[in-house]
Each structure stands twice: as C-alpha cells, then as structure tokens.
Symmetry: C2
C-alpha cells in the first residue's frame, strides 16, 4: 500500500425529508446565493422544500447553470456575489450545479487577474466561499469531494480543478429526488459512478485488498441497483443504494494508498468539449478502448475485475480480458448508454483534434503516465 | 436503508515515516501535553520520532495511561492540564491512550461538578481540548472516531462516552509500529476490529448492500491479513492492511443507515471491569454466545455472513448458523484468543454479578433492545 493522507469533513445528511435539516446547517445572518440549473427543482418539489427550510434567511438566487457548467455563466454569478457581498453558497442540483458552484466559490475569493487560471493554470485556491449542497442527481460524487469540472464555450475547453477549500460543508442526499429523474439521467449517473470506481481500481496491484473490496462492493451495488432504479423509479431502497454508491465512488476513500488512472476522464472531457456529449457517455465510449489498449499494464486488475465482478474464471488471459471488456460494454448498453463514437455522430477528424490537444498540453496521463497523443488516437480509433 | 448523518473530519496520515508530519499539524505556540502508556514508545522508536517531529514545541509529558485507562489516572492529567494551561493533547499510543486522552480533553473543559458524569450520566460534552494522535497499536479505531471507554478502579466500572468534540484533529498511522508488537497485542487487535464490524453488520437486513459489502470486505481482509502479521511481523503490507482495516472498522462508515448491536461490547466491558481481561478477549468470549442466542433475530445476516465470509452454503438454517459460529470461534482460536470463560478463570458467580448490573442500570441493549439481565445470563452460561 502506498502512503496517503485522507481527510473528508463533508457532513452528509442522507435520507427522506433531510432537506429540512438545511436550516440548522446554514450560519445565521449569512447572505446566501442559491444556485441551481435548468429548473428541474421547480418541478420535483425540491425548490419548495429548500425555500421552506430556509425561510427567514437572506437569499438571492442564481439559476441557469447548465450541464457541463460554463465559465461564462459562472462568472455572472461571481459578479453577483461580489456586488451583493454574498458569503454563503447553497448549491441545489446535480454534479454540474455543484461543480459550477465550487468554481464560483473559488473565483469570488481568487486574488489573481483571471479566475480561468484556476482551471487552465491550476492556480492555487487559497480561499473560497463556504458551500452547502442539496443533491438532485446521483452521479459525480461532487457532493462529497473538492473536485470541479468547468467548460468554456469560447475555446471549446473542459478543464478540472480540485481543492479542499471547495468541499461542501454539508450535503443533503435525499434519494426521493431520483423518483422524478428521466432514464437518461439515471443511466448517466450509474455509468459515471461506475467509471469513477474503475479509474481508481483498474490500475495495478499494490497489495491493498480492502480498497479493492470496497471498490468491487460499489461496482456490484451499481450493477445490482442501477437497473432496479431504471425499472421502478419509486423503489426508494434502490434509489438510496444507487445514491450512496455514487457518493462513495468519489469521496476519496477507495483511492487511499492506491494508484489512480483518470485518463478515460481526460479523453472523455475532450469529447464533451467538442461535441457536447453527456459526460457519462464519453466515459462509456473511452473506457472499453482504454481497457483494451492497456491490457498488459492492467492485466492483473483486469483479471481480478473479470473474476470478482463478472465471474469470469476460464480461458486464456486474453480471452478473460476480452470477456471482461465485453461484459462492461454489455452493462453500459443494458442501461441504455451507447459505447461507440458513431453512436454519437462523432466524425473521425475529432480524434486528431483531441490527440493534438494532448500534444499541445504535453499530457502524459494514466497511472503510468504513458497515455499521450498516440495512445489517445489508438483508443479512440478502436471506438469507431 | 435508514436515514443517517455522517461526518468524520479526522485527517489520517498513513504510511512509513508519517510521524514526521506532526510538525505541520500542531498549532504553533500551543502548549502541548504528550500522553502515552506503559513506555513501549521508548522501545519501538516512536517516542524518538515524535520528539524529533515536535522539536521546538512547548511540550509536557504524561505517561502511565494503562490498558483500560483508569479514571483515577486520567484525573491526574486533567489537573496538570489545568495547572499548566495545556491547550493541545498529543496522544501517542494504542486505543487505551487515545481513549484516555479523549476523556482528559473533555474533562478539562467540563463545567459540571464531577467529570465522571461524562461517563456515568452521559453528560453532554460541550467543549474539549483539541487532540492529535500517533497510533501504535491497531485495534480500537479510536484514531478515527469520537468514542472513548474509561474504567474506574474504585467501583469496578467500565463505561463509554462519545462526542464529535473528542475526534482527533489528525491521526498518524504508521504500520511500522506493528513490527515490534507482541503476538498478544496483534491478536487482540485483529479480534477487536473483527467484532467491531460484527456489531454493525450482524443485525437484521435493511437493504443496504454497499454497507454490507464494505463490512464483509473488512472481515475478509482481517481474516487474510491478521495471520500474515502474526506469522511475519515485518510484512509491511500485511501490517498496513491490518491497520487500515482496524480504522475502517470503526470510523462510522459501515454503520451509516444500518442498525447496530453493541451488546457484545457492553457485556464484555463487565468482564474487563471485574476480571481485567483484555477487551478483545472478552468480545471473543461473548460474541459466539450472542450469535447462538440471537440466531432467530439475526438469521438472515447469520446466513449471509456464513456464506459470504466462510463459504457456508449447505445444510439447514440451523446447521449453517452453527457452522458460521464454529468458524468464528475457530478463527479467534487460530490467532491465539480463547473463547470460553474458564479459559480466563472466570467463576460462574461473575455471571450473576453482571446480570445484576444490567438490572440496576436498566440496560436493554442490542439492535432490538431485547438483551437484558436474563439474556446476559444465558449468553454467559453458554460460554462456561
């Protein structure tokens, strides 16, 4: 096991009716900006619950944070925060609203000339407004970590930053929010959480059996509960198990002491940046190609994954790895997520553009730092 | 799944050489009391490492905190803290030193007349001195929770309290401390952590498959790695896996949204109070009796435990439960922990005394609140 430091102070309020608890979490006399997305919170009753729980607080609202939150949109909220002397952010939404709110929190306090540097130059986040969150869509794990991904229309870029300063102080996870989600968002959430686990699990063994078993436990639970949620949106327990799995997939715990990959994410971000494809779907496209290309580096873990998750314990090494990849693709497709580039009308020219970006940025990613422009091309070509 | 609130802000510094990190964790200009136990830290090099890491800090020392830390001893440290205006506690030791230091932290700030009320009357802990910890013995999980158990010689009592106020701000977990531990302490640690998991897992199903799998992951890892540590004390990875499993066993995560038992602990505490038996050994005595007596209430989980942990999937329900209990006893005995009362020369009269205490205190414990004096007697009589 590798050395590690782990700290995650996010307070999780999980279960039915927990939105009412917000009242006790928010500091009295704070001036709050309630951030949200496209307005689904008005239809599913969450907005009403939040308003009741915050009755009497001084709250402004900022809606319209889009999927793959845009720098341009978020900077409008930053201006409001400064003009109105906002001192607390309450994010009500899915991963995009939470990620966007984290950027707002950091950008308001950023002392450099251009807050885009937080993303483009990984400028240090020395301070941030405090954040509370009400999650309406399980997927990204953003409710219990300090990660954020932001896009910029102008330059067709999608970049990430992370800082403990932007971890939510509290996050409300009420599984009932899932009852009104469309299939597409449930499926995206299942696949997003699944691939988050894979990025931290499918690398090389460092003799960390507990982390492996926890990762496998999340994968099993997603495979078991995801289809139940899709089949019956009112199955509370299935919704709760899916929601908690998505949070546990990216709160840092399964990553302690082990190598991490994240190359699938970095390639996937480019597919979203160029073509606006849903984040989870880009991961479903890229991951099988990654597993295939890196079958030697990842051999031990691919075999373990195949055996423990899918019961694959016969055949040659390559046959078993092929079967593990096929099972992964089959699972993604079974929840309605296509896994090939043509399914999303991505032209083959995009591959060159993405490889070129890796070249320009000098990216060498993955757990061995050996995924560069050439490998990106190979992976994406295998997904045509 | 049940509703839950989870928050655990403890910063874990895990791995070789991490004691050196203490310097960055301690507040400058603080006046620190370094607390420790019987002096093993002078033999295993930990004291020296701590002194080097804290060079320049203003530190007093308080040694001699015993296994099953005594109220009488701890109150001496409380007096020193007040006299010397100590504002930070640095606990260097195993669970007893950490638990004792938590009590010191709470007692120094306690505003009531008698700090014993924190234990005997569960008086609220409204404030506590901040604590940092260097763990020298994996077992209790005290390094990543707000629990503490303290004994009182005068009245032969052993009582617990818990408060987020006494969670360590940071805990250093360097698996190398295990290299110099005697077999007895390693075995105690393995069994203690194992039973901590069982108290949170072996109840009744509430459809929380991820929590189950995480609990089972810890059990598997302890079963696998514990004997490796016993066989080769210099196996760093086995030590690390054992250490992390013991922490994960009681940092609150596997308890979220599920019922908890803890009756085995409450009965075990009495065996320590009356006879000074090592904590883990009392658990190894009581747990098999608990599993046997509560086989109906716990049936579904006993069968799941038998199948997933020990591969028991044949026979009638009772045969499978008998086999699961037998496997548990066999595991405890295999690491050198005896499981019957006569193994520890406990006379049968003790059973009546413990039942009487449950009577006096009005205890009805366990996940159904149905373990009272009568059940305590039945469980302990089955262990004669």
């Amino acid at each position: 096991m590798n050395n590690f430091t782990f700290q995650n102070p996010v307070k999780v309020l999980f279960g039915k009716g927990q939105i009412a608890q917000i009242r006790e979490q928010l500091p009295a006399n704070s001036k709050i900006l309630l951030t949200y997305g496209g307005g689904s919170i008005f239809k599913n009753g969450v907005y009403q619950q939040v308003k009741e729980a915050t009755n009497g607080f001084n709250i402004l609202e900022f809606g319209g944070i889009e999927a793959n939150p845009k720098f341009e949109t978020l900077m409008k909220a930053v201006a409001i925060c400064k003009d109105e002397q906002i001192d607390y952010l309450l994010a009500v939404g899915g991963g995009s609203v939470l990620d966007g709110t984290k950027f707002i929190a950091a950008a308001v306090c950023f002392e450099g000339a251009d807050p885009w540097d937080i993303l483009a130059k990984q400028a240090e986040v020395k301070a941030a407004l405090p954040i509370g969150a009400v999650l309406t869509l399980p997927a990204t794990g953003s409710e219990m970590n300090g990660n954020s991904v932001v896009s910029r229309i102008e330059t067709q870029e999608k970049l990430a930053f992370g800082s403990p300063m932007v971890m939510p102080q509290f996050s409300v996870l009420d599984p009932e929010v899932i009852f009104s989600l469309p299939d597409r968002q449930v499926a995206n959430g299942v696949v997003d959480a699944f691939v988050h686990v894979m990025e931290q699990y499918l690398t090389y063994p460092v003799n960390a059996p507990l982390q492996d078993r926890m990762a496998e436990g999340i994968l099993h639970t997603l495979i078991e509960e995801g289809p139940k949620v899709l089949a019956n949106r009112n199955d509370y327990d299935a919704a709760a198990n899916f929601m908690w799995s998505a949070t546990m997939a990216l709160n840092g715990l399964i990553a302690v002491g082990v190598p991490q990959d994240w190359a699938t994410h970095l390639i996937g971000h480019e597919l979203t940046a160029y073509h606006g494809i849903d984040h989870a779907r880009t991961l479903a496209i890229v991951l099988p190609g990654m597993m295939d290309l890196k079958r030697e580096n990842k051999e031990a873990k691919l075999l373990q994954y195949g055996e423990r998750i899918w019961g694959i314990n016969q055949g040659t090494t390559n046959e078993r790895i092929d079967a593990a990849i096929a099972k992964t693709v089959e699972f993604f497709e079974s929840v309605g997520i296509k896994t090939k580039l043509p399914d999303y009308d991505v032209p083959s020219e995009t591959i060159g553009k993405i490889a070129e970006r890796f070249e320009q940025r000098g990216y060498k990613v993955g757990e061995h730092g050996d995924i560069g422009p050439k490998e990106v091309s190979e992976i994406l070509e295998s997904r045509l």
